[in-house]
């Protein structure tokens, strides 16, 4: 049941995840703020509402799987796994360091990470394999895969789209983080892929488009997608890259940007102010 308290908690969690991401990026080091922050609400909903998890055992056999095909946004996944208590908070600051646990891209060494992704275009295929395995074993585990919009130019995604449709996979829900910016600029200018919704529909998928920053809409879309049987579902998250930090929103420079001292302080102050408003 969706209620106001829960929505409020998830809104707060999404901002907490953003704070964690900013903490991981720190000052003077490049970090994928943009594509991490665009996913904060979806990640909060998945890990703290929709997904079946065993918090005491990250490898619990009944758990759902979440694969970040756009693996460069690993920071937002780490932020959530940390809040779940899967690893100590101290690891956040050690991200991408030689003796740290958290790799630059998703790696199985991190509790809660289910596959190696980051070389773009592969996550949906990995998810299809997992979904087939669960179906074969008559298990109810659900697979969630998050793709980027820049990533849509990877041909393998469309191989996987056809496979999921061919095998009538309905224990997998895919997300497309439609934040309209990729590594070197605006997606429309770099490599335009118009009508993504129609393309996925044509590939045999049920397509649902929602405001990717609206908690209630995301919850509703996931529930709707899970009710659809005999075909795979895609939720297009209409998002703002860099969301919640005024100077980083919709700014290609923050795809993998650096915060100086002043910018970091301003960013953290903005996030905390928004958190207090929830």
């Amino acid at each position: 049941m969706v209620n106001e308290v829960m929505i409020k908690e998830l809104k707060d969690m999404a901002l907490q995840l953003r704070c964690n991401v900013l903490e991981m990026i720190g000052v003077g080091k490049a970090g994928h703020w943009g594509g991490s922050s665009s996913l904060a609400e979806a990640i909060a909903v998945l890990y703290f509402h929709s997904m079946k998890l065993d918090k005491a055992n990250p490898k619990g056999p009944e758990r759902d799987r979440l694969l970040l095909s756009k693996g460069h946004a690993a920071l937002i996944q780490y932020a959530a796994l940390c809040e779940l208590g899967y690893f100590p908070r101290e690891e956040l600051k050690k991200v991408k360091s030689l003796n740290g646990l958290l790799q630059g891209h998703p790696d199985l060494s991190v509790p809660g990470i289910e596959a190696v992704t980051g070389s773009l275009g592969q996550g949906l295929s990995l998810g299809v394999g997992m979904a087939l395995a669960f179906r074969l074993d008559k298990k109810s585990n659900h697979v969630y895969v998050i793709m980027g919009d820049g990533e849509q130019s990877e041909g393998q995604l469309w191989e996987a789209a056809m496979a999921a449709s061919n095998f009538k996979i309905d224990n997998l829900t895919a997300f497309l983080d439609w934040n309209k910016i990729q590594a070197s600029g605006r997606t429309e200018e770099i490599f335009s892929i118009p009508n993504l919704d129609k393309k996925w529909s044509a590939f045999g998928w049920e397509v649902i488009t929602v405001d990717g920053h609206d908690i209630e809409s995301i919850i509703g879309a996931i529930e709707q997608a899970k009710r659809i049987k005999g075909k795979p579902s895609l939720i297009i998250l209409d998002t703002i890259k860099g969301k919640c930090i005024s100077f980083a929103e919709n700014t290609p420079a923050y795809h993998n940007g650096i915060f100086d001292n002043a910018k970091y302080d301003q960013a953290m102050a903005e996030l905390i102010a928004q958190k207090e408003m929830v």
Binding site: S125, L126, G127, G129, A163
Partner: protein
């Protein structure tokens, strides 16, 4: 010498292993009748996934199945199994050490008619460079069968290459088999020939030629291209006057360079390498014709041994 199909051995082994191990699943990219994975489809249709002509998706899907507890075997022609899906193998399978078994069928020059686009003289070398990857190259149908059994039990990713043509059967079902071990096929004292795949029998024939000339050649079957163990090599090098290596892949990064890199500085013996020079394959009417064209016959191996012994 009786010849048997390694492809048939692969297909039959899938079915036999799949009978007792329900976690085994098979993926194919529209070449199941050639790789002979199609037998598995007949036996266990629910565990067989026809992935269409989409090797990248097949490799990553196999990785997903493995990460969810299955033991997937995916097969297609060697050149595609590796070449079309290198990064999917690297990131999705090798880095997470997933239990995916990759079968590169019609390996080497064995797909003689189809020519350079379908022949694969470099894929085994590429696979050997991937950290943690096990690379197997059976010499006959019996060894193929034994490798399949070992692969099911093995932890981590494995690549197996399967020759398209029927090859002489000379190993025994009675002999033990272990991944990473080398096996002596012919005992000799002057020169040791380390050979792999189809080149093992060619080396046995070369040893017979040399025997007639009074040269005693030992033939070692290196069916595990990786792991390739130094102690195994040294075991057979001891007491010999020269070393010859023979494989059907490009010499660059092939069996010869792999063995040389392990013993360099420790063994100071004349060394000759049989393999494909820095060039692609070509179409021919028979496999034998190609082996002559690329210098991979018993005569070439015998000549390499003579040359090494006179150095």
């Amino acid at each position: 010498m009786e010849k048997k199909s390694l492809r048939l051995a692969y297909g039959e082994a899938l079915v036999e292993e799949g009978k007792t191990n329900r976690d085994i699943v098979v993926l194919e990219a529209d070449l199941g009748k050639s790789t002979m994975s199609c037998f598995f489809k007949e036996a266990y249709p629910d565990r067989y996934f026809e992935m269409g002509i989409a090797e990248q998706n097949m490799a990553s899907t196999a990785a997903g199945l493995a990460l969810a507890g299955k033991i997937p075997f995916y097969s297609t022609f060697a050149v595609f199994a590796v070449g079309r899906a290198y990064d999917q193998i690297r990131c999705g399978i090798a880095i997470p050490e997933a239990n995916v078994r990759i079968c590169g069928s019609s390996c080497g020059l064995s797909d003689f008619g189809d020519g350079k686009t379908h022949q694969s003289i470099e894929e085994a070398n590429i696979m050997c460079t991937i950290p943690g990857m096990t690379v197997l190259n059976p010499c006959d149908a019996i060894e193929t069968r034994k490798m399949m059994k070992a692969m099911v039990k093995h932890q981590g990713p494995v690549y197996i290459r399967i020759n398209r043509n029927d090859l002489p059967v000379y190993t025994s079902t009675e002999d033990e088999y272990e991944i990473g071990k080398m096996y002596r096929i012919v005992e000799g004292s002057d020169v040791v020939i380390f050979a792999t795949g189809a080149m093992v029998w060619k080396s046995v024939e070369a040893a017979a030629i040399l025997t007639a000339e009074g040269i005693s050649a030992e033939v070692i079957n290196v069916s595990s291209l990786k792991p390739l163990r130094k102690e195994e090599i040294l075991k057979y090098v001891g007491g010999k006057k020269a070393i010859v290596t023979a494989d059907e892949s490009t010499k660059i990064g092939g069996l010869g360079s792999a063995i040389a890199s392990l013993i360099i500085g420790e063994v100071n013996l004349p060394f000759e390498q049989i393999g494909v020079n820095d060039e692609f394959g070509t179409s021919a009417h028979s496999y034998e014709e190609l082996l002559v064209r690329y210098g991979l016959t018993e005569k070439d191996i015998a000549q390499a041994a003579r040359k090494a012994l006179t150095k």
